[in-house]
């Protein structure tokens, strides 16, 4: 290797190092900008949600109870703003990386953009499922207690499980995650529950079924607690 070759190699090396350094600095700037925007989104959204009474709305809908049951003890506005902050971070990061013409980033961006609608739909389905499961389970619990039915807690838990199962299955279907397995698992779970109920009501619990139907389709028996009183 002569002196000219060494010089050329060093020049090329220098250019590449400079280019990589610039790209790295730009990438770091993009990361910083993404983190900053994500953090700002989280802060602003958190304040807006708290000021608009989002937490009390979530409490009334039962979402807070469901979240606590799942071990999430922070206010719902905290989770919502954190989620939005991370979404902004990744979107800005991928967009920034794409603008640097990194082939892998282009591919990731393309896939992410295609995935976003399904992802948002799945999240919405899950949120609705959680809210509705809480509402339905609580309604069943209170109505069963007032009817004096001792299986109130079990009925309520079953309703919650069924609604949540349905919501999770629908969300996974949206995301196209192991579709055939999800459909099969869902069919097995729901079919199993329906079969168990049919057996329980038809055979083992026929007296309960009779009482239940009687209490809902016929006037309450004279021995309903307090039936002898004219309450008004």
């Amino acid at each position: 290797m002569n002196t000219l070759q060494v010089t050329t190699w060093l020049d090329e090396f220098g250019r590449r190092v400079a280019a990589i350094t610039v790209d790295t600095l730009i990438f770091l700037a993009v990361v910083f900008a993404a983190a900053l925007l994500g953090w700002l989104t989280k802060k602003i959204l958190s304040r807006v949600l708290r000021a608009s009474g989002f937490d009390s709305l979530a409490g009334r809908s039962g979402a807070t109870t469901s979240a606590r049951r799942a071990g999430l003890s922070a206010p719902p506005s905290d989770y919502a703003s954190r989620f939005a902050g991370w979404v902004v971070f990744f979107v800005v990061l991928i967009a920034g990386a794409s603008s640097m013409h990194i082939p892998a980033a282009d591919l990731v961006l393309q896939r992410a953009l295609l995935f976003i609608p399904a992802f948002v739909t799945a999240v919405v389905l899950l949120i609705i499922g959680v809210l509705f499961s809480e509402f339905a389970a609580r309604g069943v619990l209170i109505a069963s207690v007032n009817a004096g039915w001792r299986g109130a807690s079990a009925a309520s838990a079953l309703v919650r499980l069924l609604v949540l199962t349905l919501a999770v299955a629908m969300a996974l279907d949206q995301l196209a995650v192991a579709r055939s397995i999800v459909v099969a698992a869902f069919s097995i779970v729901v079919g199993g529950v329906v079969l168990a109920l049919a057996i329980a009501f038809g055979l083992g619990g026929r007296h309960i079924a009779r009482d239940y139907l009687r209490s809902h389709l016929a006037p309450p028996p004279a021995n309903e607690p307090g039936a002898e009183i004219d309450h008004r």
Partner: protein
């Protein structure tokens, strides 16, 4: 006397009547077996106590399928026929089909509208299923108004000490604490109403709400108290009516009555939340007629069992909407198996806490109010245990004591109410 066909409109009735000093309104739906007696009694009451004054006995029906209107018209006309000519020509019998949502409130609305348009001085409304109504009821409900001394007359029934438990434990003490008036039967069902109040009722905008369906009684009383109308109470003796609807579950009844009541508490919060809107006690007119009440046997074990089961199962729900100390107290009372009473203070705090939870819509309204049922049964059980051997008078003193407790806790309730932000 004129006997009209059933299913008329308001216009038909007004045109046929022309003018009437008194209107006796009878709302109905499938009361064919009992309405005849009420209509005939109304005719006798009018002819006995208001002879010579033009009067209208008006049935406002919800589309009965059992010939209610026909039975009313037939019985009313037969009663008129039994009068001498000078009396019978002043009394008209009419029946019409009311408009709007199905319910007693819609029936009342059309009765009031007819009364306003025929320039009635006083309106008396009577339940169509009454068996104990007497001609004196017309006198006692209408005379204080015709004399110009009062605008609204509520009934004072003689009831068994264990009857009227929603009235005794919720509606009476809370109405009295918030709005004053000391109205013992705010949701009695039979009332006398004067012209100014009739106009106020007709002009109100509540007729498409739950008031039209099932909350008209408490709405009428509260509206009269809040707006400064002169209110009196008339002794009517025992109220005997058809056995209550066996299809009417307690939980549903509680949701309807208490839901309407909490709506009114909200609607008229300006009148009570500052502590300056209390009406003077309404005088109790006349003497109590001699009458026997039907004895009520209560199965306390069943009430306590339902209370315990409710507290045991619904505690997580109570904990999410009620103060922790109150929920702990439910647990202690429930564990006492009847030995520890659901005392007045705990009960008043419970009702107020539910009213606050209702205001902030802590749960869907139907679920929130339904969850009150087991606690209510626990309170009723305590009352029955405490008054099992008491006289009617002693039991009434207990109710008055509860009313005092509600009043003493009302300032705290008002403070919390003002601090609470409405979800709207």
């Amino acid at each position: 006397m004129r006997v009209a066909a059933a299913d008329q409109s308001i216009e038909d009735v007004v045109a046929a009547t022309g003018g009437a000093d008194l209107v006796v309104g009878i709302p109905s739906y499938n009361n064919g077996k009992t309405i005849g007696h009420v209509a005939a009694t109304a005719v006798h009451g009018l002819s006995t106590f208001f002879a010579g004054r033009p009067a209208l006995v008006l049935n406002s029906d919800g589309g009965s399928a059992d010939g209610t209107s026909t039975a009313m018209v037939a019985a009313g006309s037969a009663a008129c026929e039994s009068l001498d000519e000078t009396h019978r020509r002043w009394i008209r019998i009419e029946s019409m089909r009311y408009r709007g949502p199905s319910g007693k409130g819609s029936a009342f609305r059309d009765i009031f509208e007819v009364a306003e348009r025929v320039n009635a001085v006083a309106v008396v409304v009577l339940d169509a299923d009454l068996r104990s109504v007497s001609p004196e009821w017309i006198d006692r409900l209408a005379s204080p108004i015709v004399s110009g001394r009062f605008d609204f007359v509520t009934p004072l029934y003689k009831r068994h000490k264990f009857d009227g438990t929603i009235t005794n434990n919720i509606i009476y003490p809370m109405t009295n604490a918030l709005f004053g008036g000391d109205i013992r039967q705010p949701i009695g069902g039979d009332f006398g109403v004067g012209t100014p109040l009739v106009r106020a009722y007709v002009a109100d905008t509540v007729w498409e709400t739950d008031v039209a369906r099932f909350g008209v009684d408490i709405w009428m009383t509260t509206t009269a108290l809040v707006n400064g109308f002169r209110v009196a109470q008339a002794h009517l003796g025992a109220k005997v009516h058809d056995p209550k609807d066996p299809g009417q579950h307690l939980a549903k009844m509680l949701v309807e009555v208490v839901g309407t009541w909490f709506d009114l508490v909200e609607r008229y919060s300006q009148a009570w939340a500052n502590g300056d809107g209390s009406a003077p006690a309404a005088p109790r007119l006349g003497s109590e007629p001699a009458s026997d009440v039907t004895h009520v046997n209560v199965n306390v074990d069943s009430l306590l069992d339902q209370f315990r089961f409710g507290v045991e199962t619904l505690t997580p729900i109570y904990a999410s909407v009620l103060p922790a100390a109150l929920v702990e107290r439910f647990g202690a009372i429930s564990a006492g198996a009847g030995a520890m009473p659901f005392d007045d203070s705990t009960w008043a705090r419970t009702v107020y806490a539910f009213a606050l939870a209702y205001r902030r819509r802590a749960l869907p309204v139907q679920q929130l109010l339904s969850s009150l049922t087991p606690l209510y049964l626990g309170r009723v059980a305590s009352f029955v245990i405490a008054n099992g051997n008491s006289s009617e008078e002693a039991a009434e003193k207990q109710v008055q004591q509860l009313a005092r407790v509600f009043r003493s806790l009302c300032p705290d309730f008002a403070t919390e109410w003002r601090a609470e932000r409405s979800p709207q």
